[in-house]
């Protein structure tokens, strides 16, 4: 419904959205050329929080790089932990005890629910509804308490180790998680009743921000953005890692390609994560949580290693080239939102400003992870 073509008078002006702006969730800057209320061109400008994580990976020892994993995507840090652990275990040939893998999956999925909850709340707040954020925060707080009891931190987790996890989970955590799942499941329905069915919200989301599967492929979008465009791609199923193959869960895929589809994928994924956690808790084996023979000084053999996980926002993968010394020769991180947001420029052409920001919110960007 763009009237860009129809408008006779083409008088444009520039608008800087960000780096300090409530809709960008951080220090993302979008340089927009506006034609009235329509967007002529929108260019995301990154780099305001660039911290050179990749370079840090090269000049620190393997173990010293751990804390960085919690500081990329601060909302789903455990998935990033998982990726680094997996990468190095593959390089060093460490076999991880099964209990540790189950704990990794449980915490990673709790973290995913937490991330989607905040994404949901913040997204509705972008659209002007403040209340759902507080509801989501309430639930999120319970997850953070659970994770704090086992990992020791609430946001920037550094919980995994090469060969296992730092801390075994106790009965309190297990009963607490079960209780949480029981409380949380009805809450998803409540959110649907309160928020999804709202006429104004449907008006704002349905048909807004169409993303064809082609454009998703072109820019390498992953995660809920890709699955909202009808492509069934999830690392947990497509390149299974950890103990995911032993668990039964579905990948929600929506074919509408609009903001509503992406929103619904996130909502459904919370339900699926609940299923995963429940099964993992039931199957949780006894045993150690750390592999026995992990050398103190890590020197992975020469070679090129790669590992990918499904973080809350899409595929996170790491590739490292080792030259056999105690730090990396080259470290490369592939973060999901970087690709997801890069398609914004092409997809937002001719959109209304308010629709474009609703669309940006549906990509659920986390800026530190984009800038790395």
């Amino acid at each position: 419904m763009s009237s860009l073509a129809q408008s006779q008078l083409r008088e444009t002006f520039e608008l800087n959205i960000g780096p300090q702006h409530p809709a960008t969730h951080g220090v993302l800057r979008i340089k927009v050329v506006m034609d009235g209320e329509y967007i002529d061109r929108a260019e995301p400008i990154l780099g305001y929080i660039h911290r050179m994580h990749e370079k840090m990976g090269e000049n620190r020892t393997w173990n010293q790089f751990w804390p960085n994993m919690g500081r990329l995507d601060y909302l789903s840090a455990i998935a990033y932990n998982h990726c680094y652990a997996g990468l190095m275990e593959r390089a060093l040939g460490i076999v991880v005890p099964e209990r540790a893998e189950y704990i990794r999956v449980i915490t990673a999925e709790l973290n995913r629910i937490q991330s989607h909850l905040l994404g949901f709340g913040a997204y509705i707040m972008d659209l002007g509804g403040f209340t759902p954020l507080m509801y989501a925060m309430d639930e999120r707080e319970q997850i953070l308490d659970l994770l704090e009891s086992v990992t020791g931190s609430r946001l920037t987790y550094c919980y995994f180790r090469f060969g296992g996890v730092y801390n075994d989970i106790d009965d309190d955590f297990i009963t607490g998680t079960r209780a949480f799942l029981k409380r949380f499941r009805p809450q998803i329905d409540l959110y649907h009743k309160l928020v999804t069915g709202n006429v104004i919200l449907m008006d704002r989301l349905i048909g807004i921000g169409p993303l064809s599967p082609e454009i998703c492929r072109k820019y390498g979008a992953t995660g809920p953005v890709l699955r909202g465009s009808g492509i069934n791609f999830d690392i947990r199923k497509n390149e299974p890692y950890s103990v995911y193959p032993e668990l039964d869960f579905d990948i929600p895929v929506y074919h509408e390609c609009d903001s509503m589809a992406r929103y619904m994928v996130r909502m459904d994924e919370m339900g699926q994560s609940c299923r995963i956690i429940e099964q993992a808790l039931n199957k949780l084996p006894e045993g150690p949580v750390m592999a026995e023979k992990v050398p103190k000084a890590l020197k992975p053999p020469k070679g090129d290693y790669y590992y990918a996980v499904e973080a809350a926002r899409g595929m996170f993968s790491m590739r490292t080239v080792s030259d056999g010394t105690n730090n990396s020769y080259r470290m490369r991180l592939r973060s999901p939102t970087y690709s997801n947001v890069s398609l914004f420029e092409e997809a937002s052409r001719g959109m209304l400003l308010s629709d474009a920001l609703a669309f940006l919110g549906s990509l659920d960007p986390v800026i530190p992870e984009m800038d790395r």
């Binding site: 409530p22 972008d126 509804g129 308010s354």
Partner: protein, 327 residues
């Protein structure tokens, strides 16, 4: 001389009433929002946070007024005052009780609309004078919104005028009897579409007061803070207060036109208390709506007005005229 004293007394009373309302509606909104959102709202300053408005006021007043470099200084300073003045003036015409009205104007309704539309102007010049692109976009949005929603509002109000045969607000209330079914909203004998007119008028009031889901002038997700992005200290404070003043006026107008003003719903003890009860109930509904719904788009907002509300208001007007003529 007596008249002068009477007017002075009324002025003082209005100032006091307004001051109390503007301060405490903010508290009501924050407390209400808190309870809608599973938290407590303000509670630190005073019991139940009741002194919070005073603390806020002190803080706002003690802040330095910074005029942005790009701003047009005169317009920038004048806009917040200009938005406050018409809102305060309007209280002169509101009949809180049968005899509790500062000035009975026989054209009170027209005066209400005339002064209310000045608010749109002051939002525009506030946005313009700030020298900020967000403010400017918000200002233009607010104006097109105010124009779009004043039309159906006026058209609906004309229904009432035709039924009552008067523009005098007190007379309009007197015409509605002292039982709930005599209120304009339920007077189906005059026009069967009366409840729907009420709904249209209510929606328009929400839009006129620039509140969520129609807060295009503010739009904090898109336009930072809309027309008052550049305002700090008391400039912002005046905008905030004007919002609540407009809220009181909007609720009063609905009460007068549709809910029988100071008339009692059960036939006993008519008086200002009924007026205030109805008014505060409506304000509570406004607060309720604000913290429940997300914001519409600017596009959807204008669509709603021009494609649905205005045609409906026109048809409604014709039907009412027909009803009055035939019956």
């Amino acid at each position: 001389m007596n008249e002068l004293i009477r007017l002075l007394a009324y002025m003082l009373c209005i100032a006091a009433f307004l001051g109390l309302n503007l301060a405490y509606l903010g508290w009501v909104e924050r407390k209400g929002a808190g309870h809608f959102q599973r938290r407590t709202g303000p509670k630190e300053v005073g019991p139940y946070g009741l002194l919070q408005p005073l603390a806020d006021g002190l803080k706002l007043m003690s802040k330095q007024l910074v005029v942005p470099a790009n701003a047009d200084k005169l317009i920038y300073m004048a806009a917040p005052v200009l938005i406050m003045v018409p809102s305060v003036t309007l209280f002169v015409a509101i009949p809180f009780g049968e005899n509790l009205v500062p000035r009975e104007f026989n054209f009170g309704l027209i005066m209400m609309f005339a002064f209310a539309s000045v608010a749109g102007l002051s939002i525009l010049i506030g946005g313009w004078g700030s020298g900020n692109k967000y403010s400017l976009i918000a200002g233009t949005r607010a104006v097109s919104q105010n124009i779009a929603y004043e039309i159906p509002m006026l058209l609906t109000a004309i229904n009432i005028v035709m039924i009552s045969g008067s523009l005098d607000l007190n007379e309009i209330i007197r015409q509605q009897g002292s039982y709930i079914w005599n209120w304009n909203v339920f007077r189906l004998d005059k026009s069967i579409l009366m409840p729907v007119s009420f709904l249209v008028f209510f929606i328009c009031s929400v839009a006129e007061t620039n509140r969520t889901p129609f807060d295009m002038g503010e739009c904090e997700g898109e336009l930072v803070a809309g027309y008052h992005t550049e305002y700090g200290g008391m400039g912002f404070g005046l905008y905030m207060m004007a919002e609540y003043a407009n809220l009181v006026i909007g609720a009063s107008l609905i009460t007068i036109l549709f809910l029988g003003g100071w008339q009692s719903p059960i036939g006993i003890l008519p008086g200002p208390h009924w007026f205030l009860l109805k008014m505060y109930f409506l304000i509570w509904v406004f607060v309720w709506i604000r913290w429940t719904f997300p914001r519409t788009t600017f596009w959807g907002l204008l669509n709603l007005s021009w494609k649905y509300l205005i045609p409906f208001a026109m048809v409604n007007l014709l039907l009412t005229a027909l009803f009055i003529k035939v019956i």
